[in-house]
Symmetry: C3
Subunit: 321 residues, 3 copies
Amino acid sequence: MQPFSQFDAQGGLRHLITLEGLDGDLLRQLLDRAQHYAARSGEIRIHGKELQGFTVANLFSEPSTRTRSSFELSALRLGADVINLDLMLSSRVKGESMLDTIYTLQAMQVDVFVIRDAQAGVTQYVAEHVDGHVSVVSGGEAHLTHPTQGLLDALTIHQYKGGFRDLVVAIVGDICHSRVARSSWRALTTLGVGELRLVGPEELMPAPEEFPGAGRFDSLEEGIDHADVVMMLRIQNERMEQARVPDADRYFERYGLTAERLKRARPEAIVMHPGPINRGVEMSSEIADGPQSVIRRQVANGVAVRTAVLSHLAEARRKRS
Amino acid sequence: MQPFSQFDAQGGLRHLITLEGLDGDLLRQLLDRAQHYAARSGEIRIHGKELQGFTVANLFSEPSTRTRSSFELSALRLGADVINLDLMLSSRVKGESMLDTIYTLQAMQVDVFVIRDAQAGVTQYVAEHVDGHVSVVSGGEAHLTHPTQGLLDALTIHQYKGGFRDLVVAIVGDICHSRVARSSWRALTTLGVGELRLVGPEELMPAPEEFPGAGRFDSLEEGIDHADVVMMLRIQNERMEQARVPDADRYFERYGLTAERLKRARPEAIVMHPGPINRGVEMSSEIADGPQSVIRRQVANGVAVRTAVLSHLAEARRKRS
Amino acid sequence: MQPFSQFDAQGGLRHLITLEGLDGDLLRQLLDRAQHYAARSGEIRIHGKELQGFTVANLFSEPSTRTRSSFELSALRLGADVINLDLMLSSRVKGESMLDTIYTLQAMQVDVFVIRDAQAGVTQYVAEHVDGHVSVVSGGEAHLTHPTQGLLDALTIHQYKGGFRDLVVAIVGDICHSRVARSSWRALTTLGVGELRLVGPEELMPAPEEFPGAGRFDSLEEGIDHADVVMMLRIQNERMEQARVPDADRYFERYGLTAERLKRARPEAIVMHPGPINRGVEMSSEIADGPQSVIRRQVANGVAVRTAVLSHLAEARRKRS
């Protein structure tokens, strides 16, 4: 078997499982396309036809209103037929049985699988086994990768900052378990971000060999000092224990973003969060709803980026068929 | 903050949370539009484009096959993209967290929210916070309001009776807990109904200051005497206890509509019910399926009315954008 | 009441509850139409308009990713609006209450009901009560009938074997409880199959008067001897007990299809299974994924057949309206 590639023989993108291996040119192409789809709020959309005749199957094993609805709307607005299936692929007894589910849907002429699974490797495993015309897109995989999140974060930063080169970006919180952190780091590094910092309790820092080039900070104040972008991550309660933080209040005391603390960042710094926010844990409501928050723009960009990815895959497919 | 209004600056209807504040002209406009959409049974429809490019999100926290499917079909047949989310907005921990959900969907370019929530005030609260181009429509709220039900009841009565002025309408059952009763009363009163009567056990009558102008009857026979329209309400088992009616059989004995009792109404009286019917409790099957029953027509009119409301809101939006 | 007929007054097919009563000409017409819709894998489809303006309601009371998705995609690709309702019609308290649900959806202008119910007779009962323009299609009913499965099996056999007359077809497993076996037997018999054999433990054989004309075999080896088609059925664990087979391993020992055993069939024999497969129970993975397996083609044909049925019903309806 050949090593797995996300690209087809013509060099077009066929799957989006990870941002690893996508160069800056391709990322910029995807961001440009997403910018094209980024509707101004309140605008009445023209219904697209880029995916007319295509069928998109959303296979989400974890509840995710946000990401699933975002993919669903992207696909519908490009004219695709969409089916939603709540199923945990990795819980199927054996690999073969999981593939039987995939092959069944493939035989029904599903063209694009969007998959979120809690188990690492499932998405790529599916991509390795589908027919040549079928694409697989990750909707978030274990703690490892969430490529469309990385793209939407990059798009949002680009919209507000006009580029990446001179920026200081701080990612704050539970880096260790965060696919968001990994994918955003990957996107920003490929796009040549000036400086990237990881900020959080030592216990929640990733292994030393991960995130090469990123600085590491235990102190929120130091970590966001003069930052242009402060990207807050969602923290799960069970992770606090691991970080020996007794409770959410204590977490907020140490790592919660407040107006006072945000003063350490650049005055025009933007605040991001992948959502859903735990208000009073990761940040105060004052910050979440404040003028520096770009959280809702991230959501809007999530749709734009997913639309761009689906339309890019469809275009590549037309070229090779 | 300005007092909440369902109308936009041009005077167009933007939200439909309650029928309160809608005058007779607007109600008649909506009914005319609904009449236009009221397909004859068996007709093959032309697929509309009034909502092409619009996204409708159905947020239903209570199970409701009937109302949710009705809104979903209305939206689809007007060309909208539709997503269905089973979520109890009011159960979200804080108001802010509920709004985060709404803002997330709004950022995904949802144009119309259709909301059913068991907690009073939620729908208006959402409407007060969404962006100017977004509309909120109630799919039924607590015991208070169900505006599209009021409209469909009015449309049905108009179709059979040609008007409202000379009619005697009796609403029978658990008035106190019924959003249907409140919305139908509102619609019919605004449209100038001749006489409106509330019929039911005293314990299930609304507060004295509610339903001004309506007569009140403890006896079914007297309440429907010479009525043109007999509108039966659904009764929950737990309400019977409150009314000190020991069981469904006993309720039927006192308030169940039978062929015998219906003779007290006008010979050409119509019988209505918002569904789903408890046969043998609110009425006998003989009545439910009999020639005077217009219950299925109510369901058909439900789709017509929701289609009219969605198309009206879309038109108003186009005017202001 | 007239005896129930699946045909309308013009002789067009109106419902598809069972293949009983459909003659060879009609089956061949449906298979031809399905062949027309059978997309080549990887082809980009043209979106059809045969069902534009139609609404299809999927009422599935048993979980069925495969059949429900298959009907949903067929309907969407023909341009229909589709609503999915998870509901167990037969669990509704009384027949009347079940009909209330149906009448409600009918009043919402549902044109086609696709129904899967575990209780025998429900689908026909609904078909007997809907209005003249409405069609009812079975998505599988109790152990009795699964007409689109019978059609897709016939289509698959025809694609590989070019006809039916000279073929030996062996159906293997739990015949007694299988709607697949009954519907495939019906289709193949009507289409004039050469020889049809039932193979399985005596305890899982159907009543003697069922499957007239079919041979019966207790031994897998003898049953598939020189067969052109080996159709394996899914076996439920609880059925093994009934057949006094202690466990799945022991079932596989006696009735599992292996490469060794398949040598008894004709060299070019095809292996079928309605899915989902229990690998290592009904057949080895070697067989399921081997060159003689046509299981994925069956799934693809499932969509083609359902598309053909829906488009046929829509055409018949247009003729009578």
